[in-house]
Amino acid sequence: MTTPSTGALSLSADLAELFQKSARLEGFKFLGLSDLTWGIEAKPASTHSSVQEPLPLVFQNDPFAELARQQGQIKTVVIPVGAEAHLFEKGPDSTLGLQWVNQVWHVQVQEKATLEMVLFQDTAEFAKEAVQAFHRIYFSLAKDATLNLTLVQQGSEKGQVRCHVDCVGEGASAQIHGLTVGRKSQRQDLWVDVHHTVPHTQSHLTAFAVVQDQAHSIFNGQLNIEPGAFFTEAFQKNKNLILSDRASVDTFPKLLIANSEVKCGHGSTVSSLDPEQLMYLQSRGIDQAEAQQMVRTGFMKQAIDWIKNTETREAVELALGLRIEGGDVNDF
């Protein structure tokens, strides 16, 4: 395998082959490589026999992650007209001993295409939490394109996800959920910026954060409704659960509306564990520690339950401690 140098990187054919294998690229076309950049394109729905099922693309063992050591990456994804795709990015890989990760995604969802994407910024398995992870994601949604996006953060000493969604085609819609889990002295930021530039587009953003110890979480959400974006529906909510006296959150839900023919809303809540919820569970024989865990787990699952792809959802739940091997806490 190619060893990254500190200078300009040259991505060799064998690395490209490795990438194709690990990324389960069936149904996708490789766009080519340049320094620190690669891309893929999902094949059109009509050319893929199993288009009814979302196309899986799993970067869990991303060979390019090694290249990102002390470097950065730019990834480009195109979901073509009418295609349906599922993307799951989880990392950085804890076995590579990264200290600093910087990734940039450009995702283009073309007309009538559907993308479910889960970005899981997860460094929880590191022994020393000196990892700093930064993800930037830019989405462009064409006419009648659909995005179901889940952004999850856990484990970094400093973690930041900045997401920018452009609804540039009429009928485009974005469903966005965020979950930030802060422990120890971690500091995590989630920025979501949605731009509605044409009429009849929708976005629904709900971000959850649960912080304990001395962790600090920041939510910065902004909905921008342009002058010509009539009949936009755009909503954002930020819900925060604080589990210790020294943990803290900052929340900035913002709406910038430049026309009057819209339905919009925004709001934030910050709370600790609700004693009435605990009382209810305890009155059913559940001890206090388990009751606290159930309320916390339930809070987090509100973000995760929206992931439609079962395999991905279970992987995320497992990594967050919401699931035990062999059974969901909610299985019945």
């Binding site: 609700d274 004693p275 009435e276 919820q277 009382m279 209810y280 569970l281 305890q282 009155s283 059913r284 024989g285 559940i286 001890d287 206090q288 388990e290 009751a291 159930m294 309320v295 787990t297 339930g298 809070f299 987090m300 699952k301 509100q302 339950d305 806490v329 909610n330 299985d331 019945f332």
Partner: protein
């Protein structure tokens, strides 16, 4: 002579610095159903929460006994495991926690070692059978606990829990509120059929309508944080006709 099933002795309680209960005395023998009626704001719900051990309600003096054992200082979960049950007037929603996972955790906590450890398949069969009796659809199980539930759905779920957890002593805090006529009939019949010579119930209500299904052995009138009058089932009928003024005078 054996101890009564449930006993409250001279109970004085304050909540957030305000004295609400002023010396409640009440004894429920095994097999009995007692109704507690009274105007709004007289302390009925405070009594219910105090009996279950809600930490917001402070017992200033007095004692509570279940099957002869004092439970006044026990935590809510300890009381539940000793088979005391409270059907809440306003069951709280817990988003993200499904009814199924909640029932499983609760049954595991209360019934394990009490009524034999049921295997998961047996447990599922028992729950489904009880759900059928209460007209609760299977889809209920995957919903978040009490979130977005109608008043009727909440009370059905409370009743389902009572039947599954099989308490010795059940306190029902206005279980008839928020129910339409059909739901009232289903819930009340399921509560009535739960009666047995070994079990007791304390039914807090404003109306006679549920007592038409669950005939009380004893009716207490509550006022000013204590019991003002005690009588038989006919007392509830008289209250329905004449109101509370004649007692207050």
């Amino acid at each position: 002579m054996s101890a009564p099933l449930f006993e409250i002795k001279d109970l004085h309680v304050e909540v957030e610095g305000k004295k609400v209960l002023n010396g409640v005395n009440l004894t429920v023998a095994a097999g009995e159903v007692h109704a507690v009626m009274g105007r709004n704001g007289t302390g009925k719900t405070t009594l219910a929460y105090t009996l279950m051990g809600h930490p917001r309600y402070h017992v200033l003096s007095g004692k509570i006994f279940l099957q002869g054992e004092e439970i006044t200082a026990l935590s809510p979960e300890e009381r539940a495991r000793k088979r005391l049950f409270l059907a809440f007037q306003y069951p709280v929603a817990i988003p993200g926690v499904t009814v199924a996972s909640f029932l499983r955790a609760s049954l595991k906590a209360v019934r394990a070692g009490n009524n034999g450890d049921l295997q998961p398949t047996q447990l599922r069969a028992v729950i489904k059978e009880e759900m059928k009796k209460l007209n609760i659809p299977d889809a209920f199980m995957t919903r978040s606990l009490n979130e977005g539930f109608s008043g009727g759905e909440k009370k059905r779920l409370e009743t389902l829990q009572l039947r599954l957890l099989q308490p010795k002593m059940a306190v029902l805090d206005e279980t008839d509120s928020g129910l339409d006529i059909d739901a009232l009939k289903i819930v009340s019949e399921n509560l009535q059929s739960y009666r047995s010579p070994e079990r007791g119930m304390l039914v807090i209500t404003h109306y006679q309508r549920m007592l038409n299904y669950i005939k009380p052995d004893v009716v207490h009138v509550f006022g000013g944080g204590k019991i003002l009058k005690t009588g038989g089932a006919e007392l509830a009928l008289k209250l329905e006709e004449q109101g509370y003024d004649w007692i207050m005078q």
